[in-house]
């Protein structure tokens, strides 16, 4: 008996040792991250959105929805990450030029450089950061974007799984004239107005919560319902014994 108990205990210990190893390897490069996209400080945007990234090894699937963007103009969208960046969205204090708006460069210390270009077709590398003819044009102000098979470097995949990357959708309308315009040239591409490349929406791709939720205190677990069930069952068993004993006595009496 004692040796059986010990064997079971050892088996349990072995399983406990195996479990963390299995979990670790399964999650090393795979995961999900979600971003709530909110207006970038100072840039006069009232849009909102969310983005989801699924990481499998070094392959991403990105799904993104946003609305109330400046409609019918290309909105460059990227995943940003920088090992030296704060891994967050820029604040008003990032306005290094003091002009009252944030351009893409001024957001750099917060979200780092571009690591993925969220184009609708073709190349998705940083080289396509300003491929304006391949980004969503937000018809009606809405973006509904989904793309799979996006290949990234292992360090980028890891940064996303670790919740350190940031999604940014660009394209604002500082002067409220309904299109990209103005005298200030883009810090990224001088042939474009800064409105075309200034960040509009931003959100950190955060890792999902870990595991289960403790959502009960047990106030109904050991209550009358269970006691009552046991009582009824026990009563029936007692009745069975009684009837059986009576029958047996009848048998003895008859024979």
């Amino acid at each position: 008996m004692r040796s059986t108990t010990r064997r079971i205990a050892l088996a349990g210990f072995g399983a406990a040792l195996l479990l963390p190893a299995g979990v670790g390897s399964a999650f090393a490069a795979d995961g999900n991250a979600n971003a709530n996209l909110t207006p970038v400080a100072l840039n006069g945007v009232e849009a909102s959105g969310t983005a989801m990234v699924t990481v499998m090894g070094t392959t991403l699937t990105v799904t993104m929805a946003a609305d109330r963007l400046l409609p019918d103009v290309p909105h460059a969208a990227h995943i940003h990450f920088g090992a030296e960046a704060r891994n967050e969205c820029p604040a008003a204090t990032d306005d290094a030029s003091g002009d009252g708006t944030l351009n893409t460069t001024e957001g750099g210390p917060a979200y780092g450089g571009i690591v993925v270009s969220l184009t609708k077709t073709g190349d998705t590398s940083p080289a396509s950061a300003l491929a304006v003819d391949r980004f969503d044009t937000a018809p009606g102000g809405r973006i509904a974007y989904q793309r799979g098979s996006i290949e990234v470097e292992p360090a980028v995949a890891q940064a996303i799984v670790d919740g350190k990357s940031v999604v940014v959708i660009h394209g604002v309308d500082h002067n409220d004239d309904g299109t990209y315009s103005g005298d200030v040239a883009s810090d990224l591409e001088p042939s474009l107005p800064t409105e075309a490349t200034d960040p509009a929406l931003c959100g950190v791709l955060a890792a999902a919560p870990a595991g289960s939720v403790a959502a009960g205190a047990g106030g109904t677990a050991q209550s009358g319902a269970q006691g009552g069930t046991l009582l009824v069952g026990g009563g029936l068993l007692a009745a069975a014994v009684g009837v059986g004993a009576f029958a047996a006595r009848r048998v003895r009496a008859t024979v």
């Binding site: 909102s48 699924t54 077709t121 959502a215 205190a217 068993l237």
Partner: protein
Amino acid sequence: MTDHVRHDGRRLALLAAVAVVLAVAGAVIVALGLRPSAVGPAAAPARTVTEEVTGPPGQRELQAPAPTPAPTSASAAEAAAPAADLGPILPASEPVRLDIPSIDVHSDVLEPLAVGADGVLPAPADYALPGWYTGGPNPGQLGPAVIAGHVDGPSGPAVFYRLGELAVGAEVMVTRADGTVATFVIDAVERYAKADFPTARVYGNTTDRAELRLITCGGAFDAASGHYVDNIVAFAHLIA
């Protein structure tokens, strides 16, 4: 005499049958009573963690993008990549009211929930209130919005006591601060051992639509730890 014996035999057979029926019924009921998950809060069907790999209910396969050459003009890009169909999607707006008519849940307060340093989503502090996970999408936005609530408190049922009773097709209404009502329909109600909680299935990507998860506790109550051993999760998607 022979009549009497035959009569006694019939009575004995009847008594024996009654004893057997009582014994079987009693044993079954005692067994049910001893099995902790059979009583207390409504129990959703258990689901093994291996099904995690199948993804959320209603998840559709992503279409692998065709390996087309990079388009040379904007019109070619538009033609090659129409906007994704993500179903109804609402703008950001915080939830202010939860109604689940079929299990009589009505709350005009939702407690904001943020993950702690341990990465775990806490349950609401108030047993009578549902809580919403502020790090996830607002209910109605693309992605997996999460609302959690206690199944019971120290002395009785709590806000999500009847969550396990939710039927597929039941409606869940979330009223938002902007006055819009996000209406979700239940796709599945599942129960998992907490040790096997399918994090990716519950909190991971919903692929291509706005969804909602309602989470509470279930299964047996472990008096030693003070926690239930299972979580019950209801999965829903936005219809309007």
